[in-house]
Amino acid sequence: MELTITVNNREYTLEVDPKESLLFILRERLGLTGTKNGCSQGHCGACTIVLNGKAVKACLKKAKKINRANILTIEGISPEFPNKELHPIQEAFIQATAVQCGFCTSGLIMELFALLRENPSITEQGIKEALEGHLCRCTGYQPIFDASLLAQKMMRSKNSG
């Protein structure tokens, strides 16, 4: 099938198999390897991207369901870094030492990107529940949780300032 998608503000038209996953398209066809493949079964959250404003697992989205979709990946949230600033969520992950091996990081950042845009004042419990679908084997989650709260704070002060 012919698939037209917008990824990180750039439009692509591709000839793909309708059963192909968005994860395969991003990584193997477009070379956007920042989105990680941890299980291809929707269990780990590492491939989470933002599709039409919602955080979704790219491994579970088939090509036939995403025609004309607007997609944002980790490569798209601070595309001009280091010439311009990092996104506050990325900055918060650095400051809170929320990154260890880094394999779950892109997925978590994209989940938070969608979450904090939709609900900037989400509660601590809300954050925990939203991130429950993301597995991390390194950090014990505490630094990721701390980074999430820090990101929320940074984004609020940025918006109010």
Partner: protein, 774 residues
């Protein structure tokens, strides 16, 4: 106290910008010209003789370049590899010994085409009875998994028991080992289980192999042990190491699951049939479960005796490890568990036996903790029972028996001040834990508090070495090449801090080269045993000190003096009030007329483990490396209706020697504790009656998620310096996993009066136990 510029500072991780932007490259992100893909056919039966493998249909399918099976021309059917016992073929030729074992492999132009061909390979098996349980595997009627057990080449330490499934028996004797309980007034004993587990790194294993037309082998792999891989490949293919290029990009977690080698022998063997092509082999999540290595898998009995006043007098234990189809590195786990199961306590008399047993599961290898969580789960649970029987508070019982300077451990080594202080760790942990009041039982919840202490020694080759190359660039920035692998633990940052401190320059001016290429990178034994900060750190310390001396030597030529008259401050080399900027010394010194003296700054450093011996075959005693002590405790809440356990507060106190980076140290602790919580409450590999793994994805094998996180973490870093550690640091990364399961199960017992001895205590098991009690 020394004022440091970089040591002890919460420097942000040097790899975090790459990782938060998605630009850090892992093995599956690498792209090469002429790429092909490997997919494999796995046995699907746990124990069988291979009668035939028919690949004729597969060979003719679209996109297929090569199909490899036992009958493939040029395949050496006698090829066996291993680290302790050489018992493993890269591809099954006569038998399969676990259901995930590879019987055939297809190389094709896409994974899809390779997989299609795999499905068209026909294998005929003669199925054999299988065995999964270590007790059943040592029974007389058990099926023999390796008919040649005892005949394989093996390291001298690991003596197999022929005509049995026991590939290694370790026996440690200390004091009166035949009558260990002669002076005991009270004896307690119990039987324990620590199940098989999976490392569940979020990055699945992957590798790319490429044989060029000059006969060189290029490999990019997700391995923690590039130089072990190189050695194995050099032996396998009889290739000089100058023709093997092992490259390691960023690793998405290791925890022992990517040591020492996993998929590399099979992939390189297959890729050899298609020279000139880059062959990628990336495992599916299911394959990570069924086709790499597992961890733990202990069943065992322990018996301890004490005098009426609580003084421990003796310990007996038998540890049986279900170690899977091949010995892999489990020999060393068996050894470590055998002598570490006594915990950080003084026992004058020990009789400890530990068995490595072949079973029909994937091979069991290294896993964070490496033999320490298993045995110390037993001793920490059993001390709780002893305290009850003696009528002594369990904290008092522990304090009375902690290993103190002058005491001998199970191996007969005398503990000294520089080993760190378990008593201080324990006291600080208790102080932090008891700051919060434990609520009383109510209609919905039980509340419990439990503690455990821990000790760990790095289990490593007795000549394990780390080497580094250092160069100071013309702008005074520094590159240091290491063979240690950054797999998330933060070694790049911590090692840069050690270098910066020693060279008296800002951390930002140091780049630790994480890119490993075995042609360019100096030798490193491997990144395991929590030793990278310490061993690579010491090598860096040595290289930096040499660089400082070189700066001084160049300056001494200019000042025409002895280098002892000179001082170095990171900016200049000075003699009294005169000084020369380092920038003028870095390439040697050049006079105004153009002529130059001295040499560019370029140094090497190495650090080798010293005074480690091999176990005595009769007594089991030997000299391992240094020790790290710690203590852990927790408050938990048990839901009476759901059986769900919530950790309210988890406290860890570790004697880290010296904190290099408090943030990364804390990250190791929260991560390790969480893995321990997984072991305590959730994780267990299960097989069905046919010997097929049931928990083969991350939905069925459940690792902790954010909602399992304790409501509060407390991490206490105790600092009694290690004299031979860089700036006094000692290993800490695996340690936080050790005490978590026993602390949680002790808390459960204190809350409910129920003693559970098998991990994990899932909510179903808790509910059943509560029902049985009432």
């Amino acid at each position: 106290m020394t004022e440091y510029q970089s040591i002890g500072k919460p420097i942000p991780r040097s790899d975090s910008r790459e990782k938060v932007t998605g630009s850090a490259l892992y093995v599956d992100d690498l792209r090469f010209p002429r790429m092909l893909y490997l997919k494999v056919l796995r046995a699907g039966v746990p124990h069988a003789r291979i009668k035939s493998v028919d690949i004729t249909k597969a060979e003719l399918m679209e996109g297929v370049y090569k199909v490899i099976s036992k009958d493939t021309e040029g395949l050496d059917k006698n090829l066996l590899f291993g680290t302790c016992i050489f018992d493993q073929p890269p591809l099954a030729v006569d038998k399969v010994r676990h259901a995930g074992e590879v019987v055939a492999a297809v190389i094709a132009d896409s994974e899809k085409n390779a997989l299609r061909a795999v499905k068209n390979i026909q294998v005929e098996f003669e199925e054999l009875p299988h065995v999964l349980d270590p007790y059943e595997a040592i029974a007389a009627e058990a099926p023999l998994i390796h008919e040649r057990n005892g005949q394989y080449k093996h390291l001298p330490t690991f003596v197999p028991v022929p005509d049995s499934n026991v590939f290694y028996k370790y026996h440690l004797k200390k004091g009166n080992d035949t009558e260990v309980f002669r002076e005991a007034d009270v004896i307690v004993e119990d039987e324990f289980e620590y199940p098989l587990m999976n490392h569940a790194t979020i990055e699945p294993h992957g590798a790319v192999a490429y044989w060029d037309h000059a006969g060189d082998l290029h490999l990019w792999s997700s391995s923690q042990a590039p130089f072990v891989v190189r050695e194995v490949l050099s032996d396998m293919f009889n290739l000089p190491m100058t023709k093997i290029h092992v490259n390691i990009p960023y690793l998405g977690g290791g925890f022992g699951g990517k040591s020492d080698y996993t998929i590399e022998p099979l992939l390189t063997l297959c890729a050899r049939y298609v020279p000139g092509y880059h062959v990628k082999f990336r495992l599916t999540r299911k394959e990570v479960f069924i086709g790499t290595v597992l961890g733990r898998g202990l069943k065992g009995k322990m018996k301890i005796g004490a005098k009426k006043d609580g003084t421990l007098v003796g310990i007996e234990a038998q540890l049986y490890f279900s170690d899977g189809a091949y010995a892999d590195t489990s020999c060393n786990v068996v050894l470590a568990a055998g002598h570490n199961c006594v915990g950080p306590y003084f026992f004058p008399n020990c009789n400890l036996q530990s068995f490595g047993i072949y079973t029909n599961t994937p091979p069991v290898g290294a896993m964070r903790g490496y033999g320490h969580p298993e045995g110390q789960f037993m001793i920490e649970r059993l001390l709780e029972q002893l305290a009850l029987k003696l009528g002594i508070d369990s904290h008092t019982l522990r304090r009375k028996n902690f290993l103190r300077p002058g005491d001998t451990n199970s191996l007969g080594q005398t503990i000294s001040e520089h080993n760190g202080d378990v008593v201080e760790c324990f006291n600080k942990m208790i102080e932090a834990l008891t700051k919060n009041l434990l609520p009383n039982e109510d209609d919905q919840f039980f509340y419990g508090r439990g503690v455990a202490a821990l000790v760990k020694s790095p289990v490593q080759a007795s000549n394990a070495a780390s080497c580094v190359f250092l160069k100071v660039n013309e702008d005074l920035t520094v590159n240091i090449s290491i063979g240690g692998v950054e797999m998330g633990q933060g070694c790049l940052t911590v090692l840069a801090q050690i270098a910066a401190e020693t060279l008296k320059i800002p951390v930002k001016d140091v780049r630790i080269n994480y890119e490993i290429n075995s042609q360019l990178t100096p030798y490193e034994w491997q990144s395991v045993a929590s030793m990278t900060t310490m061993r690579v750190g010491n090598a860096i310390l040595a290289a930096c000190e040499k660089a400082v001396t070189q700066f001084k030597k160049n300056a001494a030529l200019v000042f025409d003096c002895d280098i002892s008259e000179l001082s170095y401050d990171g900016k200049t080399v000075s003699r009294g009030s005169e000084n020369i900027p380092l920038k003028d010394l870095v390439k040697g010194y050049q006079y105004e007329d153009g002529h130059a003296v001295g040499d560019p700054i370029l140094s090497v450093g190495s650090s080798v483990v010293r005074d480690v011996t091999l176990p005595d075959l009769d007594t089991g005693q030997y000299q391992p490396y240094e020790w790290t002590f710690g203590a852990q405790g927790c408050d938990i809440r048990i839901d009476k209706t759901t059986g769900k356990i919530k950790v309210i507060h988890f406290v860890t106190a570790l004697d880290v020697g010296k904190v290099i980076n408090p943030d990364t140290a804390r990250g190791q602790i929260t991560g390790g504790v969480m893995m321990g919580i997984g072991a305590a409450l959730k994780e267990k590999i299960l097989f069905n009656k046919k010997g097929i793994m049931q928990t083969d994805n991350l939905r069925k094998y459940r690792i902790p998620t954010m909602t399992d996180m304790p409501e509060k973490f407390t991490c206490i870093l105790v600092e009694n310096p290690q004299p031979d550690g860089p700036y006094g640091a000692r290993p800490i990364a695996e340690h936080p996993i050790i005490g978590a399961p026993p602390a949680i199960l002790n808390a459960f017992q204190n809350a409910t009066g129920i003693s559970l001895l098998k991990l994990p205590i899932s909510s179903e098991r808790v509910l059943t136990a509560l029902k049985q009690r009432s």
